[in-house]
Amino acid sequence: MTFTNEKPIYIQMADRLCDEILSGVYKDDDRIPSVREYAVLLEVNTNTAVKAYEQLAREEVIYNKRGLGYFVTPGAKKQILKARKQEFMKERLPELFRQMRLLDITIEDITSEWAKTA
């Protein structure tokens, strides 16, 4: 995995697991790889992987069963989609609007392009 410079590695690891849940690699109540397995897979410090899992557990995307490992919380997919949508609206859209104003692109230009993709 190539890590970008924008986000801390633990966030990128958490995002990756979320992507895997979204794409159906792990389904509700499926066991996900252990912290160490995931750290080895991505070649990162175990403490970084611990941070990623703790973050996901806080967000209730995964839950811990003592001695058994981490599992996908039922409904996690919906939860992740909601969070991603929010992130898009709050962070990416304003940047897109800024670029549109800068380049003098109207919303009609966008809708006509959007219609072409359908």
């Binding site: 986000k7 801390p8 990128q12 160490r36 070649e43 990162v44 175990t46």
Partner: protein
């Protein structure tokens, strides 16, 4: 666990002190990155910790025992992989048979696992290996000794492209529990995602001694356009815009450490 207290050191016949009244404490269960320009004493520090060199003044101790005494109970818990070394004319199997009794916690499982990851076998002739293969064999042995302290001097030098990735894999897999690893290197990109703690040496003193968590909490690493530089502590031009270190603003997300940028900023005294 490792305490370096007020040491002075110089090599015989040399005028300049490598260390002068230098102190440092290393804690258990961490992966340290030891960085510094050429000739700042990185390797010397590793040798002093391993007890291969003795300080002129001050003490280096491991769990309260001075390493220069080279007591068996110390030596069985410290292993050093130097940058360059020779191995005797024998197979790895014979080498293991002779050397493993010195390390009570030696693990054959770890050795076999590492060799498999590095695509090597235990019947290799140690004196007939390329530099990279020799390094991999010796690192596999080093990890298998299960010593509390493992010192590696430029571990990724001479490794081919897939082996660098394998190196990160075996380190994350086998540096378990209470083991401490100190990696001295110039190849920051090879190891940066493994590190818990960064040490930056300059001649005779430490310029930086901070955990990665502390660094990411305090500073933001990002690319910026030239019109947005007012709070930048340090900047370098790059293809993606200016690479910048700035104080992290309250409430803003943490960013990934750019180790090369941090190193340059610290060496120029900007941080």
């Amino acid at each position: 666990m490792i305490e370096v207290n007020n040491i002075s050191f110089k090599y015989a016949g040399q005028k300049n002190l490598v260390f002068d009244d230098f102190s440092l404490e290393l804690k258990q269960d961490n992966i340290y990155g030891l960085l510094g320009k050429n000739g700042t004493g990185k390797s010397t520090l590793l040798y002093l910790i391993a007890g291969l060199l003795r300080p002129k003044k001050g003490t280096v101790s491991f769990d309260g025992i001075e390493t220069k005494l080279r007591k068996p109970e110390t030596l069985q818990d410290i292993f050093i992989v130097p940058e360059e070394f020779d191995l005797p004319a024998m197979t790895l199997d014979e080498y293991v048979k002779i050397n493993r009794p010195f390390y009570p916690l030696f693990s054959t499982t770890v050795l076999e696992g590492c060799l498999k990851d590095f695509e090597l076998t235990s019947d290799v002739k140690l004196n007939a290996l390329s530099m990279g293969q020799k390094k991999k064999v010796f690192m596999a042995f080093a990890l298998a000794t299960n010593t509390k302290v493992l010192l590696m001097d430029e571990p990724t030098n001479g490794l081919d492209i897939p082996s660098k990735s394998q190196f990160r894999k075996v380190v994350t897999q086998y540096m378990t529990g209470d083991r401490t690893l100190i990696i001295s290197t110039h190849q920051v990109h090879d190891v940066e995602q493994l590190l818990d703690h960064i040490l930056i040496l300059s001649p005779q003193k430490l310029l930086l001694n901070a955990s990665v968590a502390e660094i990411t909490e305090k500073y933001t690493f990002e690319y910026r356009t030239p019109d947005n530089m007012e709070d930048a502590l340090y900047a370098e031009p790059s293809l993606q815009g200016n690479a910048v270190i700035a104080p992290r603003k309250e409430g803003y997300a943490e960013t990934q450490v750019n180790l090369e940028l941090l190193f340059n900023a610290v060496n120029e005294g900007k941080i």
